[in-house]
């Protein structure tokens, strides 16, 4: 009996073949706008990646991601994605203007409002230094900063939204960018025809591997498994231990994925025959290790 997955979006059959990808093109080093089915007339502003080097990427994020980002020296990472220049979309909750800057608190519903600081150039008449009032939805473009453990965004642009569909587009862009840029936890493609390469889930992503990881992201949605299921399957596949990998270790490696989601994925994969339990119901191995 096929697993009746609780999520309506998940395909029942995990057959290979083209099934609902979020991207058709695989431009290496760039994330592309999702083609089709996107009716918003608003152009996506500040969403394009300009190049492959870290410094020139501007990445759509949520406030929660910025607050949770890990930090090594001056570099921030959301999962595996390096972030420096970011965009967030949220509603202004409070404002505070001083001689040299305007401080906003911007709330995008993912957590407490984020502090946004916009420097005011008192000598440049071209720069608009009108304070935007609370209740205004804005798109903030700026750099993530941390000072004395306090995170904020130093903005080079705070633009009030005129088209509220940008709220929707930003949500989708955040998911798309982080999915495309984040190194999936395997190099081999799921669903047969794998490259046979070793799975190294926790290795640091190299510059070159970004291109490869993007292809992986493409493969992820082409075999009928959801992104979560693919990630879980990849980890299980990478385990060469005879007794398999435990659910607890999956949770450890998968960070933000909740235990429930992991268990659901394991149940589905097991029902589909991709994995089987070993010493107990908490340990699993893949039915087709390609090593």
């Amino acid at each position: 009996m096929l697993n009746s997955s609780k999520k309506s979006k998940v395909q029942q059959k995990s057959s290979p073949g083209l099934k609902g990808g979020y991207n058709e093109s695989s431009t290496v080093g760039g994330y592309t706008q999702s083609p089709g089915g996107f009716a918003s007339p608003a152009p996506s502003q500040g969403g394009e990646k300009k190049g492959r080097t870290r410094a020139s990427q501007i990445i759509p994020c949520t406030v929660s991601q910025l607050m949770s980002a890990s930090q090594a020296d001056e570099a921030f990472k959301v999962g595996d994605v390096e972030v420096s220049q970011v965009t967030i979309v949220g509603i202004i909750r409070s404002t505070d203007k001083s001689m040299t800057n305007i401080q906003y608190k911007v709330d995008d519903m993912t957590g407490a409002p984020m502090d946004v600081k916009q420097w005011v150039d008192t000598e440049d008449p071209g720069v608009d230094s009108t304070v935007l009032p609370p209740g205004t939805y804005v798109k903030v473009s700026g750099n993530l900063r941390s000072f004395q453990n306090h995170r904020s965004v130093v903005a080079f642009g705070v633009r009030p939204l005129e088209d509220m569909n940008e709220i929707t587009s930003h949500m989708l862009e955040v998911v798309q960018a982080h999915m495309a840029l984040g190194k999936p936890l395997t190099m081999s493609s799921a669903g047969g025809g794998g490259t046979g390469s070793d799975v190294t889930p926790i290795s640091r992503p190299a510059m070159e591997s970004r291109g490869g990881s993007y292809e992986g992201a493409n493969d992820m949605v082409n075999n009928g498994l959801s992104a979560n299921q693919n990630q879980v399957l990849s980890l299980i596949r990478g385990c060469h231990d005879a007794k398999g990998i435990s659910i607890q270790e999956l949770k450890q490696r998968l960070g933000v994925m909740s235990m429930n989601v992991i268990k659901q994925a394991v149940e589905f994969l097991s029902n589909e025959g991709h994995i089987f339990s070993t010493i107990d119901e908490d340990h699993y191995k893949s039915t087709d290790n390609d090593e």
């Binding site: 999520k7 979006k9 996107f38 009716a39 918003s40 007339p41 608003a42 949520t62 929660s64 991601q65 607050m67 949770s68 980002a69 890990s70 930090q71 999962g79 509603i91 909750r93 709330d107 519903m109 993912t110 957590g111 407490a112 409002p113 009108t130 935007l132 009032p133 609370p134 209740g135 205004t136 939805y137 995170r151 009030p160 939204l161 005129e162 088209d163 509220m164 569909n165 709220i167 929707t168 949500m171 989708l172 955040v174 998911v175 982080h178 999915m179 984040g182 959801s226 992104a227 979560n228 998968l254 960070g255 933000v256 994925m257 909740s258 989601v261």
Partner: protein
């Protein structure tokens, strides 16, 4: 007196997206994650703060409650602390707690402007909600401890 002050603030704003952004009663609710949900998820978020976007359907004559339709056409009831001061219509974004009866006890709300001639696509927003709920690892409604 409070009415006059709030009207004065409204009149002085040029970029105000909402005709009425009510002041926060509980400062706390704005400082926590407020997952964006639809009516079908209300029952899973009882006693939790949420953000609900929908089209205003009917406003009760007392102005203390109104119904909203989400992008799937389902209707939710919103209750306010203070009665509405003016007629509410269009797309509204409500933040509040879900009561154990599935009613959204509003803490604050704001209208999503459509005055620039660009209508808000509520159905598309609802599709986007499915995406972000499908990929919580890429759109977290929680703040993990930063490493």
């Amino acid at each position: 007196m409070q009415l006059n002050i709030s009207r004065a603030i409204l009149l002085s704003t040029e970029f105000s997206n909402g005709k009425n952004s009510k002041p926060v009663k509980m400062a706390g609710i704005l400082d926590v994650p407020k997952p964006r949900i639809t009516c079908s998820l209300l029952s899973q978020y009882i006693s939790r703060p949420v953000c609900f976007v929908g089209r205003v359907e009917k406003v009760h004559p007392t102005g203390k409650t109104f119904t909203v339709a989400d992008g799937e056409g389902k209707i939710a009831t919103v209750e306010l602390n203070d009665p509405l001061e003016e007629e509410l219509s269009g797309i509204v974004e409500v933040i509040g707690m879900v009561s154990n009866k599935g009613v959204l006890m509003a803490n604050t709300y704001n209208l999503l402007r459509e005055d620039k001639g660009i209508p808000f696509d509520l159905e598309l927003y609802t599709e986007a909600l499915k995406v972000i709920h499908d990929f919580p690892q890429h759109y977290p409604f929680e703040v993990a401890a930063s490493g």
